[in-house]
Amino acid sequence: MLTDLTIEQARAGLRAGEFTAVDLTMAHLHAIEVLNPRLNAFIDVRHDRALDQARAADAALAAGEARALTGIPLAIKDLFCTAGVRTTAGSRILEPFVPPYESTVTANLLRDGAVFLGKTNMDEFAMGSSNMTSAYGPVENPWKRRQDAAAVLVPGGSSGGSAAAVAARLALGATGTDTGGSIRQPASFCGLVGVKPTYGRCSRWGVVAFASSLDHPGPFSRTVRDGAILLGSMAGFDPKDSTSAEMPVPDWEAACARSVKGLRIGVPREYRMDGMPAEIEALWRQGLDWLRDAGAEIVDVSLPHTKYGLAAYYVVAPAEASSNLARYDGVRFGARTDGSDLRDLYERTRASGFGDEVRRRIMIGTYVLSAGYYDAYYLRAQKVRALILKDFTDAFGQVDALLTPTAPSAAFGQGEKMDDPITMYLNDVFTVPANLAGVPGISVPAGLDPNGLPLGLQVLAKPFDEATMFTVAAALERAAGFEALPTLRAGGEG
């Protein structure tokens, strides 16, 4: 089936004329039509626009002007502004918002010939780890527990729609954003590759901001090599983002083919948490064995401040969010609820426009920045952040990459972990430190839990050394031979 192809295979098939971009796009649009009503992975599907882009791709292919992604159908997280296409950030407050501009990352993908199928569901303003906070309803994980196929599981979050779409074969790849794990955790939950590159690799221009110093755009794919292909298009210096890095984009596809022989892989002892499920610990050990077998040297390292990462994150991220979300005031764009005066307009607009989790984080962020609390919370969190970065710098003085689990559990059920926000926040415990430090990370599907649900392993590398990250990830992928498929997928039994 066309929907089962990897990007690498689809690219070759298009160039060889085995099928057209229109065929490929139609196959995905059909799959979306069948499965999206159940999965709710897309907030908006752009049928006609996608076909127009596919026809343009076929013309380019015919003219011999194919680029890296010509004709490849992708799903775009609804946090990326897309010119002329509604962009909601998963929130009521942006329900009517149609940006007049294209984000740099999506513009780069379009430049390389990609076809955009539609905008994917997500936790509201990317705040969540389950996709349960979306104003457009939850997303169903296409994977099912062996013994309990009726249970509806979450795809993870915040990029839950993108993960579900790629896992269910509704798109060959997707964009996501990762502020505390929002690409890697759903990738782990949905049996996908998810990449969070180095901070500054992918421009944030045109991406609705959650926490500016932590937001990282990145791709979802079904293989490591596809991740390298997508990131290669998305990345690059952007003068419109002052935090963008003026660094050349290396050939990451080539890095996927390199050997790990002689690489030093660190095992951070602080990631061995109390109460970690045995299967995750076992998978981690398995991953280390695979890499050792492939010629890498395994080294114990220490990241002593890891245990403060989550707390620091849940101060810094809400602080930035409370300020970034101030612009949603009903005055210039988006939804407005009129009021008797300006203050009333603000209060009504924001009360009706924002969901509970967003409001909670705005309140936390406002509190930690308040006079009298700033030093104890925000400043302290920034100091912790500096220490966590130093932990990584020290560790990378000894090793080339780190291997850890991606998430402390497999996908959980919709409605679970909803009673106490802290339980939900714990999902990010292994992913958050990389956001605080800005180092690149990737989640690779490596095995299944006893319920048959996918589990990912995370590779972290030095800043701007995504090449080594891809090399290690590809070695894990080869060793794991992960071939399990989700229950709900195009052409599947669902």
Partner: protein, 484 residues
């Protein structure tokens, strides 16, 4: 004699610090490419960044940074090689982001000084605490619609320099002198046009009073005062109010106040309890601003000659009094005008003409130094005509007025009206003889000791010669003949 306020309980000293918001001269805004021209149609100079659309990001305008550094150098201030932008968070309809990007903990410019001159000729150094860059907000218009406020975002995001003084100012006069001097420096540097009417320079005034030798008492901030005169009035009114409170046993509360120029009083805007908690924190969209030392030195080397240095040079090179030099350097264009007139001529005569007849003509015609009624070159030519004896000083005044009225060159006016000075000794002797003959009685009085009559004879002779006689020759001839 220092300024004091006489209260019932004794003399009070005034303590004032000024925060001046100066709009940076720049074609584009501080963090967006949108234009900044004054008077454009509402909301015609607004980018998606200025309107805070989702996903938009600020990129600092290098030229605005350069302008701030040049201003810092002009204030003899320390330039901080690393500074940082912070967000000042508050909600208002004309603040699209919900925060203003400013510099809180680490401003681009540190301490400096401004020397002010007072009417009695004395000078004082007023400390500058800091200068930082920040964005302006938009404009709310409340009087165009019965129920709605209109918002114009043209100004939103325009670069401002906030220049904060130490509480070194001790009188309304000093405050006025500080503002005028600051404005003069900014204009010399071309970093702010200093136009208070258009709002491109505004002042917040911090005022407190104290008894001599006391530590500072509570201050109040009078916001957004938009002329030098109003600043001076506001300080006086606010100081009087505070003295009144202290002397009647009350306590001055720290608060923000507004000056009402119509009533000549300040009134409360918001109290300390209502003060915003701005929740400042470093803007995560902007990395620290790191300045290259060599670049700073290049800017320093290319600064124009500033008012203090120019004044000293005018006194030294042209032998001017401190007062004349001060008047001539207040505006760069005036100084340049003067130097064009003075170059190669008698510098003091040039100064008298520029500050005298020329300034009077400027006022009378309502024209500016940039578009003067008489050019510096033409005024120089007029001075040349006096110097070479073509006309005398009295005729020169008439020629100058004709220049103002007609715009013609002085030589042309002299020829046209036949105003050339008579230096023919024969003609002068004849005129003198006729006057002496016609006033035999007065000649006798003069010779009898009434010296004061000499002026009468000069006037009569000049009148007989239609003002064109050479005054020196007339004097000399009269002296000789009267003595005879």
């Amino acid at each position: 004699m220092s300024y004091t306020i006489q209260g019932r309980t004794g003399d009070w000293e005034l303590v004032v610090g000024l925060e001046v918001h100066a709009q940076v001269i720049s074609k584009a805004k501080l963090f967006s490419g949108a234009a900044t021209a004054f008077g454009a149609d509402p909301n015609s100079q607004v980018s998606y960044v200025d309107a805070a659309f989702p996903g938009m990001l600020p990129v600092v305008n290098r030229f605005c940074v350069e302008q701030a550094v040049r201003t810092g150098l002009g204030l003899a201030a320390h330039i901080n090689p690393v500074s940082r932008f912070d967000r000042k968070n508050y909600f208002y309809a004309d603040l699209p982001q919900g925060y203003q990007i400013s510099q809180f903990d680490h401003p681009i410019v540190g301490t400096g000084t401004i020397e002010i001159e007072l009417a009695d000729g004395s000078t004082r150094q007023i400390g500058v605490t800091r200068l930082h860059l920040e964005q302006d907000a938009g404009k709310s218009i409340h009087d165009q619609h019965p129920t709605k406020s209109l918002i114009d975002l043209n100004r939103a995001g325009v670069a401002l320099m906030e220049i904060v003084s130490e509480p070194d100012i001790r009188s309304p006069e000093e405050a006025g002198a500080y503002l005028r001097k600051l404005r003069s420096i900014l204009r010399y540097l071309g970093t702010c046009d200093g136009n208070m009417e258009e709002g491109s320079m505004r002042a917040d005034v911090n005022v407190s009073v104290r008894k001599h030798g006391e530590p500072y008492r509570t201050r109040c901030e009078v916001k957004n005062v938009n002329s030098v005169r109003f600043v001076m009035q506001a300080i006086e009114a606010e100081a009087m109010r505070q003295v009144e409170i202290w002397e009647s046993g009350g306590t001055v509360e720290q608060e923000t106040r507004l000056f009402d120029p119509g009533r000549g009083e300040t009134r409360s805007m918001r109290s300390k309890e209502d003060a915003h908690d701005y929740r400042y924190f470093p803007d995560p969209d902007l990395p620290p601003l790191v300045l290259d030392e060599a670049w700073i030195e290049t800017l320093r080397a290319n600064l124009p000659e500033l008012p203090d240095a120019k004044k000293a040079r005018f006194m030294r090179e042209y032998g001017l009094s401190p007062y004349d030099a001060g008047v001539l350097v207040a505006e760069q264009a005036t100084a340049q005008f003067y130097e064009t007139v003075a170059r190669g001529r008698d510098a003091k005569i040039a100064a008298n003409w520029v500050t005298g007849d020329f300034f009077a003509a400027l006022n009378r015609t309502g024209r500016s130094i940039e578009d003067p009624p008489v050019t510096a070159t033409a005024l120089g030519q007029l001075l040349d005509l006096m110097a070479d004896g073509t006309i005398n000083g009295r005729i020169a005044k008439d020629v100058f007025e004709a220049m103002v009225d007609t715009g013609k060159a002085p030589a042309a006016i002299v020829e046209e009206k036949g105003l050339r000075q008579v230096t023919d000794t024969g003609a002068i002797e004849a005129a003198v003889d006729a006057i002496l003959a016609a006033n035999a009685g007065k000649v006798a009085e003069y010779r009898g000791g009434k010296d004061k009559l000499f002026g009468f004879f000069v006037g009569q002779t000049m009148k007989a010669m239609a003002g064109k006689g050479n005054p020196a020759l007339i004097n000399e001839t009269l002296k000789r003949k009267l003595a005879g």
